[in-house]
């Protein structure tokens, strides 16, 4: 019968003596518990290591008084499915502080050795029919973390979580985005917003809004979820006065309590746009200074942000997924599947006010110099940077042009 101890197969230094057999004068012997109890006085005088086999039906209580005289306790498993020895082992180790060898004998499946080790066994006698490789394969399964404490003193998962909460709780941003897409990618917009604001990114999420023609929809959803959600409003300094007025009206109507106006760095603007014509001679740089960089600064500390891009806004926005990763931050597009009809219906159902410029033919509104009316039948964003190749400000797909 191979004996395994310290991850090795070793020769058994103990002599198991049958109940009727004579006990040799010298050498370590392993005796049944009944014999130990019967011949205790004589055995104590014997000057050699003593082991006791705690036969089925006996418990730690039977040997507790003598534990410091015993160098080995062997516990037989009557069958693979008899779990009593696990409890006995834990009691011996944890309650009675037995520090000698604790040996599993009898019906020992190698697959069960990891459990036995957790309960305090440190040597195992396995069936010779079992391949040694299998035994070591099973021993490998021991190197794991566990939910509950046992006799092996291995750190629990709860302890690991507490020790490195940041690392263990959140996976890498890209993996997190993929997981969120799987879980919540099909949620209706309003539910998705609530799920993110109230739960997934509670206190770590902002909504970035231009207060344009369709912004009221997402602002409303954010307000329904939690009106204290930070709303970042990018004031480039070149917005329509109507936009500013509309912002104030909406904030008031929706009860949003954490609207932050984000402005460009005045020193940067003074250096790059002294002639106030940057928007014409280098619109990409203008957007970078007035929108992209201020937003990056404003998003510091947020793990995620919501925005209102929609697939119907043109070719650049057709294939949006709900969750994207940008600058190690999750970017969420709850309205990506919405069309004009859905937007209109939401305004109507909830009696939301329209942007004052919409009626005058401005369907997508940015800064004054770079926004034009849109003719019937044109793409909704056709009035943005009209006559240029530029279609996006760079908040969503960072410009590749030289800055």
């Amino acid at each position: 019968m191979p004996l395994i101890k310290n991850d090795r197969v070793i020769d058994d230094p103990w002599l198991a003596v049958a109940d009727e057999a004579e006990i040799p004068l010298h050498g370590a012997v392993l005796l049944g518990v009944a014999r130990w109890q019967a011949e205790r006085t004589a055995l104590v005088l014997r000057n050699a290591a003593l082991g006791v086999r705690l036969d089925s039906g006996h418990g730690p209580e039977d040997i507790v008084a003598d534990l410091d005289r015993l160098a080995l306790v062997a516990i037989p498993f009557p069958s693979f499915s008899d779990g009593r020895p696990y409890s006995i082992a834990r009691l011996l180790r944890e309650r009675y502080a037995f520090s000698g060898e604790l040996r599993a004998v009898g019906a020992v499946l190698p697959d069960q050795i990891p459990l036995m080790r957790r309960c305090g066994f440190d040597s195992f006698v396995v069936d010779p029919a079992i391949r040694v490789e299998t035994v070591f394969e099973c021993l490998g399964a021991y190197d794991r973390h566990h939910y509950q404490a046992a006799a092996d003193g291995v750190e629990t998962i709860a302890a690991l979580r507490r020790r490195a909460p940041g690392k263990s709780q959140t996976s890498a941003t890209a993996a997190l985005a993929a997981e969120l897409e799987t879980r919540f990618g099909n949620l209706p917009a309003e539910d998705l917003v609530a799920q993110m604001v109230v739960k997934e990114f509670k206190n770590r999420i902002a909504y970035v809004s231009s207060f344009g023609t369709e912004a009221a929809v997402l602002l409303h959803m954010v307000a329904l979820a939690d009106p204290a959600t930070p709303v970042l409003f990018l004031d480039t300094g070149k917005l329509f006065p109507e936009t500013l007025a509309y912002r104030d009206a909406l904030v008031d109507r929706l009860g949003l309590s954490a609207v932050r106006t984000v402005t460009p760095d005045q020193a940067e603007i003074a250096a790059a746009d002294a002639g106030h014509d940057l928007c014409r001679c280098n619109p990409d740089l203008c957007c970078t200074l007035r929108k992209v960089k201020p937003l990056d600064r404003a998003l510091t500390g947020f793990a995620a942000w919501l925005n209102g891009r929609k697939g119907y806004h043109g070719t650049t926005r057709i294939d949006l997924s709900a969750f994207e990763v940008e600058e190690d931050r999750i970017k969420i597009n709850p309205l990506r599947h919405w069309g004009k009809a859905e937007v209109g219906a939401w305004f109507a159902t909830h009696h939301l006010p329209r942007h004052p410029l919409e009626a005058k033919g401005f369907l997508s509104i940015g800064c004054m110099p770079c926004t034009d009316r849109v003719a019937p039948g044109e793409d909704i964003r056709a009035g943005r940077w009209r006559g240029q190749d530029k279609t996006e400000c760079g908040l969503h797909n960072r410009p590749t042009g030289a800055v």
Binding site: S87, L115, R118, R144, H146, I157, L187
Partner: protein
């Protein structure tokens, strides 16, 4: 719902690898069936009548839509396009090849699911109220306790080879929707006189061939003492429970032998000596769970007013299948899986995908599986009920029967199970048809019918207002009928009404009991109340009149 982190994932992934090796050794003949059995059972694999069966754990019945989609894929690829929701809030695949099980477990692991401890003599899936966390009558969300216990019991090295299986249920509501008195351990979240929340600990309940209603072991246990207290119970059971006879091995028998007071004293002696988990860790873990189980929206106090005129059919559905919610603008909707052409709890892969879509659309991608084998959408807006109802009508999932007579609970019976001595699915169908012809279900009112195909009582017939047990009499299927069982806090055991009847007469017999109730009920009295007021005699007379025919 609970969200796995890297540690939970590593634990499940490790187990998939381990079982893959064990299956390989079994298929190569290195493990014999005797050695393999405890290992496969630990991973939810049973040997059934026609095939292996895999039981997938749905911890306390909470299921996400992407998980249900994966279950649909598995049903398509590895089963016959069918799954079966069990009375322990799990899902069974009845036609799985053993060689495919490791791959299936691998797929499950990718959506944070597994089959760990869904069978075998260990602590099984912790069950709870399907309305947990949204129920209006709740002291505290029982899922927090259930998840703490799930983690504590998962691969607990001391308690994987108990004398027999061990079932734990937790409830936090005034109404018991988790049948806590029918479990090996039932926990009920209660407040003491000072308003502090703790547990009433109930032990020794169970069905099977010796049905016993659990007794209160301790009327108030402080929350912080839960794990050492439960560990003490488990250790005493593991050491002293009977192992010589599998029919006397459940903890209920130990409790009967020792006596409930004596056992309670043993636990009181043992648990203060059990090593306590670090209270800071438990607090941190609990805080994490509270966050995980928080509602994904702000609850509201005002409900929208809907003045639109609606179909009577809509209101029938609302009355039966829609329950009040903690948030006044929302409702809890039950989707009964009790169509007449399928067994209770059965669901096709296509329907799984459709229900997953509905959960996305109406319920924050979350579902519950009830121990009555139905699906629950826990987060539906009142304003969306009409549209949801229309969709469910089209899908055949809007039968207005939740908690009513056609909402029958049944085990798979002899159609699938190797242990069964009689069929249960066909009987459920017969009864459904007969009662449908008799009266609309809401006229019959709240009535629980439970059918088990053998004395192992997986269909919980002991706890049914009417319970039906299939038995084999010289090669013929007969059915014993009991009356007056209940799985509420005031749990009672059903009483045998008379001699067993052959399969063809079961519907007659059930109809006679229902007619007797309709003849005797006063006012809005439910079936069980009429029975409790009058006793068994009028029902016995009705039953015998049919039996004599």
């Amino acid at each position: 719902m609970y969200r796995y982190d890297v540690h939970d994932r590593a634990l499940v992934a490790g187990r998939v690898d381990e079982f893959r090796g064990q299956v390989r050794r079994r298929l190569q003949g290195e493990l014999n069936e005797d050695q393999f059995r405890p290992l496969r059972l630990m991973n939810g694999v049973y040997l059934q009548l026609h095939s292996y069966m895999l039981r997938v754990a749905i911890p306390y019945g909470v299921l996400a839509s992407h998980q249900l989609r994966l279950l649909a894929t598995i049903a398509h690829r590895y089963d016959r396009g069918l799954g079966h929701f069990t009375t322990r809030q799990n899902l069974q695949f009845n036609w799985i090849g053993l060689e495919d099980v490791p791959d299936v477990l691998g797929h499950l692991a990718r959506v944070d699911m597994h089959a760990i401890q869904t069978s075998g003599n260990c602590i099984r899936n912790i069950t709870t109220d399907p309305f947990a966390g949204v129920a209006k009558d709740e002291v505290e969300d029982p899922r927090i306790t259930a998840e703490l216990l799930r983690q504590w019991s998962t691969f607990h090295p001391e308690f994987l080879y108990l004398p027999r299986k061990f079932k734990v249920a937790v409830t936090g509501a005034r109404e018991d929707r988790a049948a806590v008195r029918w479990h090996d351990i039932g926990l009920r979240l209660v407040r003491d006189a000072a308003g502090t929340i703790g547990y009433e600990v109930i032990a020794g309940g169970g069905q099977g061939r010796t049905p016993v209603i659990g007794a209160t072991l301790r009327s108030f246990l402080p929350k912080a003492d839960l794990l050492p207290y439960i560990e003490a119970i488990m250790r005493l059971y593991n050491r002293f429970g009977r192992r010589d006879n599998k029919y006397k091995a459940r903890i209920k028998i130990l409790l009967q032998d020792v006596g409930i007071e004596a056992f309670a004293r043993m636990v009181e002696e043992e648990w203060p000596r059990v090593r306590r988990p670090d209270p800071h860790l438990i607090a941190a873990e609990t805080a994490r769970l509270v966050e995980d189980f928080a509602l994904p929206y702000r609850p509201r106090k005002d409900s929208p007013v809907d003045t639109t005129e609606r179909d009577l059919a809509f209101w029938r559905w609302v009355a039966a299948n829609v329950a009040p919610h903690q948030s006044a603008d929302r409702a809890i909707v039950t989707l009964p899986l009790k169509s007449i052409d399928q067994g209770p709890g059965d669901i096709t892969a296509e329907k799984m995908e459709t229900v997953a879509d509905l959960a996305d659309r109406y319920s924050h991608a979350e579902m519950r599986i009830s121990h009555h084998q139905n699906i629950v959408l826990p987060h539906v807006r009142w304003t969306e009920l009409p549209r949801l109802w229309e969709t469910l009508e089209r899908l055949g999932l809007a039968e207005p029967i939740a908690g009513l007579a056609p909402d029958i609970v049944a085990c798979p019976g002899m159609d699938y199970c190797a242990l069964a001595t009689a069929r249960s699915i066909g009987i459920a169908q017969d009864i459904s048809k007969r009662l449908a012809a008799l009266a609309p279900p809401e006229h019959i009112g709240a009535l629980r019918l439970n059918i088990s195909g053998c004395i192992n009582a997986c269909g919980h017939h002991h706890a049914g207002h009417i319970g039906i047990l299939g038995v084999d009499k010289r090669g013929e299927e007969f059915y014993q009928i009991t009356i007056g069982g209940s799985d509420d806090y005031d749990a009672t055991l059903g009483t045998l009404i008379g001699p067993a009847v052959p399969a063809a007469r079961v519907a007659d017999a059930i109809e006679s009991l229902v007619l007797a109730y309709l003849a005797h009920r006063q006012g809005t009295e439910r079936f069980l109340e009429t029975y409790r007021r009058l006793g068994i005699t009028p029902f016995k007379e009705a039953f015998h009149a049919v039996d004599q025919e």
